[in-house]
Subunit: 193 residues, 2 copies
């Protein structure tokens, strides 16, 4: 059945979904949860239409400027640099950070020829220099690529006279920031160096 | 963000997807694979519109009568009874079966008050009696509920003079038919009793 096979193919594109899970999902939706399939269509359609990139921090936003960037009560002097909207969300949920964000387009990858320019390094420097930033907190992952990203961006920021810190190494080495527990993250923020 | 949260909620309805995976999927689609999200919308929309129930076997079909039921070269004397379209698909893939199917709407569940009538038992009997069926093969799962389903349907079919067999117990006890390897399934078909 062409329509069923195409649904299985589409589900396989989701992260962490192999051929067996994709087939199981497709059969489940068609046999037991057609309302769930409709809800997923609506959720995807709405999210694609509404969730855009904040012009200021480059995180997810449903308005040209996101709720965080529009929040005047935050500390204008603090700018946290993260690799992705998911990492921004987890820092927010830690409840320990009251500054602003800059969301990179991933990490540098020397092997793939992806350097600071390819992940928004120039926009970050412009944002960090646009007035009031006292400290740039590099909150990239503690993986080899995350460390390289922090090193390269840190050097560029310092050469422009900016004060740069890094999350404390309370974060377990080798782990993705997105999967770190919130307590560890709160410690790492307090001990930033 | 309302649209993002609603997408996460919709993804959580998929089988095997918890809150963390749902969030990861939503962020991945919005940040890295908007084309994949569009493909999923199209796949879901097409499948909901096209995949219906075969009027004869009650399996999935894109036409009023499915390809298997329309296949005149199969053995009219054999009717395999399965719990779901997924189980029908796995029997087909085993390549060992050349008869027709009847797809139940699940299994009986005494605890939930779900009896043979609630899973299509009467339609099964009508189908089994509509001429030419020599043997009804009960291919329900080898779980407690699958065994109860086979027992209850088997008694009802035998009382109407039909010959009833069960897949051989080559299938590991306690397992769902959908997840059995194809070789075991081929053996179980050959040794049906
Ligand atoms: Zn923003
Ligand atoms: Zn059919």
């Amino acid at each position: 059945m062409a329509a069923l096979d195409q649904l299985v193919e589409a589900l396989r594109r989701l992260p962490g979904v192999g051929p067996k899970s994709a087939q199981r999902m497709a059969y489940h939706l068609l046999q037991h949860d057609r309302a769930g399939a409709q809800q997923l269509i609506a959720g995807l359609t709405e999210a694609l239409a509404r969730v855009q990139t904040c012009t200021r921090c480059h995180g997810f936003s449903e308005a040209p400027v996101c709720a965080v960037c529009s929040d005047g009560t935050r500390d204008l002097g603090l700018l946290a640099v993260v690799e992705s909207p998911a990492d921004q969300a987890v820092l927010e949920r830690s409840g320990s950070y009251r500054g602003y964000y800059f969301v990179l387009g991933g990490r540098v990858s020397p092997l793939d020829g992806r350097g600071p320019k390819d992940i928004g390094g120039e926009a970050l420097i412009a944002r960090a220099l646009d007035g009031g930033v006292r400290e740039v907190i590099l909150a990239t992952s503690f993986t080899a690529e995350g460390e390289a990203t922090a090193y390269l961006l840190g050097e560029a920021l310092k050469s422009r006279g900016l004060s740069v810190t890094r999350l404390a190494r309370g974060v377990p080495v080798g782990s993705e920031l997105e999967f770190v527990d919130l307590g560890t993250l709160a410690h790492a923020l307090a001990d930033r160096r």
